[in-house]
């Protein structure tokens, strides 16, 4: 018979392994994966004054997956000389979460920018893919007012932005296919996506085909992005916790096998 550890010791260790890095992040090394680096490089290489469409489709349920990546990418964009059009197309919860969770996190970056000149927010626009098509074709027709009710013609930033042809990059949250269909295929605007971790393998073909110019999938990729922009946040902390807990499980598996091997050699079961 294999003598087993009392599982309660494992439970105690797991509390420590997950809790400790949350209290004091270790900053464990994190290899940067290619899709994340591609988006970072793309933003780095944008010419000054470029216009970026940023879609913050974060819902409460998907906050852990999408929130940190939204914050990290926005921080990067705001630190560059680019103009940002903010919009939510995926879920009506977007603006609420943007106001309560994203804005406080990027407040220090927003201070240096002027609303209406450097960035503009259109809030949630209904219609999903139909709305995307309309926006890509003619923004002044599809988006009449910004989130504060200012008519689009009175926003300085929007003066020179008419359609998707004026965009340098589209960064979206959620599923990538509609954006590829509406922005990349007809207008050739590069599209990047912030998506769920589980979608990463499925979206790899789009990356290799060049339809996506970058991808931040899940909390792990968000942590990579935080490393790239040297601004550790929510993702980095839990990334350490996840790394340690996975290593812990792997070590337990090895220990279990050694135990099993030893007892069997001793003539156990």
């Amino acid at each position: 018979m294999v003598k087993e550890f009392d599982p309660r010791w494992m439970y105690l260790l797991l509390f420590i392994v997950v809790g400790a890095p949350l209290v004091r992040p270790l900053g464990l090394p994190l290899p940067i994966t290619a899709p994340v680096l591609a988006l970072y490089d793309k933003i780095e290489s944008l010419p000054p004054g470029s216009i970026v469409l940023f879609e913050y489709g974060v819902g409460a349920a998907s906050w852990p997956e999408h929130g940190p990546s939204n914050i990290a990418v926005l921080k990067h964009l705001l630190s560059k000389d680019v103009k940002i059009i903010l919009i939510a197309l995926y879920t009506a919860e977007g603006p609420t979460l943007f106001a309560t969770k994203i804005k406080p996190a990027i407040a220090s970056y927003l201070e240096k920018k002027t609303y209406g000149v450097d960035y503009v927010d259109f809030g949630y626009v209904t219609g999903y893919e139909t709305a995307m098509a309309a926006i890509a074709e003619d923004m002044h027709k599809a988006l009449t007012k910004d989130v504060y009710g200012t008519p689009i013609d009175q926003i300085p930033l929007m003066k020179n932005v008419k359609s998707a042809r004026d965009l340098a990059l589209v960064i979206a949250t959620g599923y990538c296919e509609p954006y590829i269909r509406q922005f990349y295929t007809p207008y050739g605007v590069p599209v990047a996506i912030m998506t769920w971790g589980m979608n990463a393998p499925g979206y790899m073909p789009y990356i290799s085909a060049g339809q996506l110019c970058g991808m931040v999938a899940g909390i792990r990729a968000a942590a990579e992005y935080e490393v790239l922009i040297k601004s550790p946040g929510e993702a980095s902390a839990s990334s350490d916790a996840l790394s340690l807990s996975h290593l812990f499980v792997a070590i337990l598996i090895v220990v279990g096998n050694i135990q099993y091997y030893l007892t069997r050699r001793r003539g156990g079961r």
């Binding site: 087993e4 439970y11 290899p31 807990s245 996975h246 337990l252 598996i253 279990g256």
Partner: protein, 215 residues
């Protein structure tokens, strides 16, 4: 009314309704479509009534404990359960139905905390289960172990740093052999379910229809 007690009639009814649901899926018949979508609403209404059966059951189970049990702790806990159930139901029925602030407060204080907590307790159980399950006892468990370790290390944010090969191997495992096995399970489950549906509609599956007589 003895004919109504026979088991064939309800059986026939369920078969007809099941076949209608299938036909609605394949054929574009507006009348059938509206009937089947109405039937799905029927099920929601029936389920709501079944909820009250559940409440009767909970009241019986906990009521008996409150009335008969000697252990004061068990009595107290059962009374507490019944109290909370009726309290929550009443608060929920205060207008606006299911949106009264007190109902919401109670929900966000208890359910909103307990649901994710109970879910997260799995982290512990998956740890202790991995410790036991991934033991190479024979070829099969060896394969189980190899796949498990590859994916665990692949998923760990630090994985690629330990060895770059882990990422290659991990994504290969996810995209090749695991896809094959997953697909087999899915197709198999679908035809199994289909066979079960056929047995149900011919009255050969569930005991509740198989048993004859009136009771």
């Amino acid at each position: 009314m003895s004919w109504a007690r026979r088991r064939e009639l309800p059986l026939f009814l369920s078969a007809i309704l099941g076949i209608m649901a299938f036909a609605d899926y394949f054929f574009d018949i507006p009348v059938l479509h509206s009937v089947v979508s109405d039937l799905q609403v029927w099920i929601i209404i029936l389920a709501a009534f079944a909820m009250f059966m559940g409440v009767i059951n909970l009241t019986i189970v906990h009521g008996r404990v409150v009335m008969r049990e000697k252990d004061i702790i068990r009595r107290g806990l059962s009374a507490w359960t019944l109290f909370l159930m009726y309290l929550m139901a009443i608060l929920g029925l205060l207008p606006p139905i299911t949106a009264h602030p007190s109902f919401r407060w109670l929900y966000s204080t208890t359910v909103a905390a307990l649901d994710p907590t109970v879910y997260s307790i799995l982290a512990f159980y998956i740890t202790s289960a991995s410790y036991r399950a991934f033991r190479a006892r024979n070829i099969e468990t060896m394969i189980f172990l190899i796949a498990g370790i590859i994916v665990i290390l692949y998923n760990a944010p630090i994985g690629g740093y330990l060895h770059p090969g882990i990422v290659t191997l991990g994504s290969w495992a996810m995209n090749v052999p695991i896809v094959a096995g997953q697909r087999a399970i899915m197709v198999g489950a679908a035809i199994g379910a289909l066979a079960l549906a056929i047995r149900t509609f011919t009255g050969r599956e569930s005991a509740w229809l198989r048993a004859g007589g009136g009771g």
